[in-house]
Amino acid sequence: MDPVLVATGLTKRFDERLAVDDVGFEIAPGETYGLLGPNGAGKTTSISMICGLLRRDAGEVLVDGKPIDVSSVEARAAIGYVPQEIAVYPDLTGRENLQFFGRLQGLDKDRLDRRVDEVLETVGLTDRARDKAEEYSGGMQRRLNIGIGLLHGPKLLILDEPTVGVDPQSRNAILDSVAALGHHGLAVLYTTHYMEEAERLCDRVGIIDEGRIVAEGTRRELTNLIGSVDTVTVEIVGGTDVAEAVAAVDGVSSATLDADQLTVLAPRAGAALTGILDAVARSGASVRGVTLQEPDLEAVFLHLTGKALRD
């Protein structure tokens, strides 16, 4: 099956700063692709180029087989775009927002009425459709924001960090909605700096840092990149040269200290745990908490870039 999105060699420079450097990936129908990276990594710049909202210095974008750039018109109909901001009109009702953007997308009246009702149902806003968007909670506004992107039945839905600033309950509702989209054959490009979201939603993930995709694959493929390395997080108080002492323990790959949090990577952390805690105690630090985690995308990111996702 032909990919819905093919992006190759995307490059963007702002003055002297190289914001995006040779980024490329493909998304198949029904696939959810995650672009995972910290703030400023180049996620929004990349999708702005994919959407034709930003001129690219190099590279090519094909959506549904048609090239996209800033001068494209019809080809943009294949894309549903959900920006990071809550891009709705607060003084229009939920239904009016959907009707306006639907008409702008060229939907005829019958299809518009049907799609508005369907989308309101999908995002759980049917009961509040007549209320102005400014009267919605943040989570409801976010859902309306996503609904507008879905309205015209695009082949590719691009969501730029859609859960930023959302409470946990609304966040779960949004993630459930997005998870269901792939089942309907929609290709989804999802950018986030939340590792859990990428793990939960995405079939494949591209890890982006400083404008470059440093790794790409399924969760399993990515965690295999660092071997079966577990992560031990130790909350400590005091101590000197704690990281160095722990790094010297048998079975420990690396240890880094960030404020009072010691992050230790070990192939079999369970076996090395006693030695790790002994080393912490010998360094004069007291332990306030310990967590052990099997490999995840956070660990992959740490392994590949030497920094945490939220740095």
Binding site: S48, C51, G52, L53, L54, R55, V70, V73, E74, A75, R76, A77, I79, Y81, P83, Q84, E85, I86, A87, V88, Y89, D91, L92, F100, F101, R103, L104, Q105, G106, I148
Partner: protein
Amino acid sequence: MSPTWLLTRKDLTQRLRDRSFIILGIVAPFFVAFILSLVAGPAFDQTFEATYVVVDGTGLAGEGLVEGLTDSGIEAALVASEADARTAVDDGAADAAIIIPALDPFGAPTPVSVYGNADGGFALNVAESIAGSVAAGLDQVRLAVAVTGDPAAAAGLGAVEPAVAVQQVGAGDQVLDGTTYLAVGMSIFFLFFSVQGSILNIVEERTNGTLPRLLMAPVGRGSILLGKTMSSAITGLVSMAVLVVATTLTLGADWGPWYGTVVLSAGAVLAAMGLGALIGTFTENAEQASQFAGIVATVFGLLGGVFFQITSGPGFFDLVTRLSPHRWVLDGFGANAGTGSFGEVLADAAVTAAFGIVFGAWAFARRSRLTGVV
């Protein structure tokens, strides 16, 4: 429905719902004009009034002087002697006495003096000015007699008369009465706020993410920008139309012929749109755009004379005021309501519109700053 009209209709709906159009476009200019016309209107219509008495030692210049002053709307009368003149001033019957001594063609220059109270103010200043003018005229006659040696040349004293005409100046070439001036001034002043606010809505849409969403629709970007522009134009023209009717019916303002009013309003709307678009390219967000637009509209308004009448004439200040589109609109309405031809009105409207075209072209060159597509 075309995308352009769809966007225009959406913007107009929003402008009506948030009441900004009603408040900025209609209520504020009407009430400010109304209040100012009550407070300051009479001052706008004020004319110079004074009463002078004239003593004529030459027996030739006084009659012409009194006639000239009377023709200028100033009360003046000849009296027989300097003592009578001083009495009239001392009794408060006259503001000043202009005393013309007998002419000595072969003697020294004739000093024309003024008698008045020290606190005579503007009336005394005007009398002194007139006296100086008469003295200059007399001196020319004295010199003519001295050079020719012909006392008959003294008959030329009659030529002194025109030099003492006093011109009542209102708003230069403009002939708007105080109430109309304030109605026009406030309408134009708030029109710029209203139209600029409408077009700067693009900046707000850029900031809150709806503009990228609009630009993602499968319609030409020109249609999107045209839709935003049309809502500004409609906002401005409707606002002006309502204000013209309201101030005419309630305040008695006289805007002049409707066709002149239409072309001048269109010119003003175009200028405000161009200026608003240009401001949008220099600002980062809606709040900054609003502040910047307010400052620019106020400075241009003050410079253009929306709060006070600016007298036409040469000089640096006059040149500076012509850098404001408001000045040209006001001049245009002055011509429209007064004795100006429609050609003059069109010229003023054209210059006003040219401001909009220049500002708009500049904004177009910087459009990537407005839309965020770089």
